[in-house]
């Protein structure tokens, strides 16, 4: 059976009454007239009654129903009686189901129509204030929980702390090794090229030792941990929020901060300085490899490096590691605990955790450097 093209025609029977005749196959692959073509014709007739005739109708699918629903809505809006008794039985039933519930009234409240509208300054300021308030409240709660922990009254389980240490520490060795060796080599290479102009290549050891200890070792470790562990914390806590586990903890009378946030944060506080020392060591080794390639013997490199090594450089690095650990844990856990309850929200929380953590890290690093420079440490 060959398919007939879908067509419609409109016949005015008498004043105010018309018949809409539909014929042919109204189905996928055919392209019948859109309702927007029929509408002006209907409007020209000043109808109060519209009947449909489907006696010549062939195959039909949802396309026909979409067309008829538009006719129905138009007639309802114009106060025209719409009579579809001339259509196949299934059509009549489907239309009855589709029109059983009134369409939702148009929104009176305006939603921001584009991303540009969402940049409106008032809205941004409001969101920023909300965010700052939330972050401060969270930091305050964590501080109070730490005080309770110090007093031995917190519901923090040692076994959780141990597990998080294991996840954050040994599992991160490989990635930390790779990044810190490479950063050490980059530092050495950059420095060596410049120092060569003055014939002072051997001072590359000073550059690498001081650079790694004070700055690059801890910063690279922190960035890796923000992406690895901070995001994991946000995803874990966000999923627990979705799964009503955080509700369950709260209604058990346990503070989610003590039970979930503290062990994660303490694990990072313990692990970060250790990873930083490890990264410092590997970075200096990496620098040594490049220095060796430039004709500096290992003995020279080590002897020269020793002159630059001082306790204060190591201490500055370790202090930063502690500060960064707290910041990464707060950014990750805050994003997770305040996450929404959908899979999209958990993804958003993880993104949020990493972005916030990196911003915190850079700002804190700059602040610490300025303070130490003023104090001449």
């Amino acid at each position: 059976m060959s398919s007939q093209p879908p067509e419609y025609s409109l016949h005015e029977d008498e004043q105010g009454t018309a018949t809409l005749v539909l014929c042919g196959d109204w189905q996928q692959g055919q392209h019948p007239a859109n309702f927007s073509h029929v509408e002006p014709e209907l409007a020209g007739l000043h109808l109060n009654h519209l009947t449909t005739d489907g006696s010549a109708l062939g195959e039909w699918d949802s396309m026909l129903m979409g067309f008829l629903l538009q006719c129905h809505d138009y007639c309802a809006a114009q106060g025209i009686a719409f009579d579809i008794r001339g259509m196949p039985g299934g059509v009549e039933q489907l239309l009855a189901v589709a029109t059983a519930v009134q369409p939702r009234p148009a929104d009176t409240q305006e939603h921001p129509s584009s991303w540009l509208a969402s940049l409106e300054p008032g809205r941004l300021a409001r969101e920023l204030t909300e965010y700052l308030k939330e972050s401060l409240a969270f930091t305050g709660e964590v501080t109070l929980a730490l005080v309770r922990l110090a007093g031995g009254r917190a519901n923090t389980r040692f076994v959780d702390f141990k597990n998080f240490c294991y996840q954050a520490g040994p599992h991160a060795f490989a990635i930390i090794s790779l990044t810190s060796v490479l950063v050490g080599m980059i530092l050495a290479y950059l420095g060596a090229v410049q120092l060569k102009q003055f014939g002072a290549e051997v001072y590359v050891a000073n550059l690498v030792v001081i650079g790694m200890l004070r700055e690059m070792g801890v910063l690279m470790t922190a960035v890796v941990m923000a992406g690895r562990t901070g995001a994991a914390y946000a995803a874990q806590l966000g999923t627990m929020q979705t799964n009503e586990e955080i509700d369950a903890i709260t209604t058990m009378g346990i503070s989610p901060i003590e039970f979930l946030v503290l062990p994660r944060m303490l694990a990072l506080i313990v692990i970060m300085p250790l990873l930083t020392l490890y990264a410092d060591l590997l970075g200096i080794v990496g620098g040594g490899i490049v220095a060796g390639g430039m004709g500096i013997t290992p003995i020279q490199y080590i002897t020269q490096g020793e002159t630059a090594l001082s306790f204060s450089h190591v201490a500055v690095g370790l202090l930063k590691a502690l500060v960064f650990a707290v910041l990464i844990a707060i950014a990750g856990c805050r994003a997770g605990i305040n996450s929404g309850r959908s899979s999209a929200a958990v993804g958003q929380a993880a993104t949020n955790a990493v972005v916030t953590a990196i911003v915190y890290l850079i700002v804190a690093d700059a602040a610490i450097n300025i303070i130490f420079q003023q104090l001449k440490i």
Partner: protein, 261 residues
């Protein structure tokens, strides 16, 4: 456990209004749940049943009004008093709410470790007993993701009754369960309730469960945004003056059509 005087008001909801931001979910809710009741919160989808439960659990703060437990306001209580009240509750959540990073035994052990002075050996025995009560004997070392949905609900019940609570809350306990598991869970709820003398609050719209176990109920309407019926569900089905409540309880099509967001 407290003495059970059957006519004493255990939970009172007073002039409660709940809202998310500026949109009111339900207003002016007033009802009392007596000691030993099996109380059902019912209503169409999206009417705020689970939101009401979250308020009763103190997870959300009311816009106005109060909820009293044995005559004491929950929202005016201090944090430690709230904690003490919560220790007398057992809750199962819609999605179970089991800690997915812990085995079933660890899930049930947690409240026992926190709030009792049992020795570890005693706790192991109690955990085995609670799991046996819900028909999960021997599943101690399983993780929640390793068992079926119906088993998760029962495991959540085992955790909820770990501390022999005075009040048991259930959020849609039979959602997603087949009719037989759902009926078995209902029976389990009644048996546990009767043997422990607890008050039970259930959020559900499963009619068979409602008629089988509830002796009191409240109906939340999602059009007028308030409660329009309060009483025994069988009485409400036969005698309610609100057509929508009768339609809901007799499963008439007209009620389903009105189910708007």
């Amino acid at each position: 456990m407290t003495d059970t005087n059957p006519q004493a008001a255990h939970i009172e909801v007073r002039d409660l209004t709940m809202a998310y931001g500026t949109s009111v979910i339900q207003r002016d809710l007033n009802f009392t749940i007596n000691q030993g009741d099996i109380f059902v919160i019912m209503g169409g989808s999206g009417c705020g049943k689970s939101t009401l439960l979250k308020h009763m659990l103190g997870l959300l703060k009311p816009s106005s009004g109060d909820i009293l437990y044995s005559g004491n306001s929950f929202f005016q209580a201090s944090e430690s008093e709230q904690g003490a009240m919560r220790q007398r509750w057992g809750i199962t959540y819609q999605s179970g709410g089991l800690f997915s990073a812990m085995t079933l035994a660890e899930n049930i052990t947690l409240p026992l470790e926190l709030y009792t002075r049992y020795t570890p050996a005693e706790i192991t025995d109690i955990v085995a007993y609670k799991l046996a009560l819900v028909g999960l004997a021997g599943y101690q070392t399983y993780y929640p993701s390793e068992i079926s949905g119906g088993m998760q609900k029962r495991a959540a019940l085992a955790r909820a009754i770990a501390l022999d609570p005075d009040i048991l809350f259930f959020d849609e306990p039979s959602a997603g369960l087949d009719p037989i598991s759902s009926r078995l869970l209902d029976e389990l709820i009644v048996q546990i309730k009767e043997s422990m003398g607890a008050t039970v609050v259930i959020v559900t719209h499963e009619l068979p469960s409602i008629f089988a176990i509830a002796n009191n109920s409240v109906y939340l309407d999602n059009i007028s945004h308030t409660m329009i019926a309060y009483g025994n569900p069988t009485d409400l089905r036969d005698n309610s003056t609100e057509p929508v409540v009768r339609q809901f309880l007799t499963r008439s099509a007209a009620a389903a059509i009105e189910d708007k967001p």
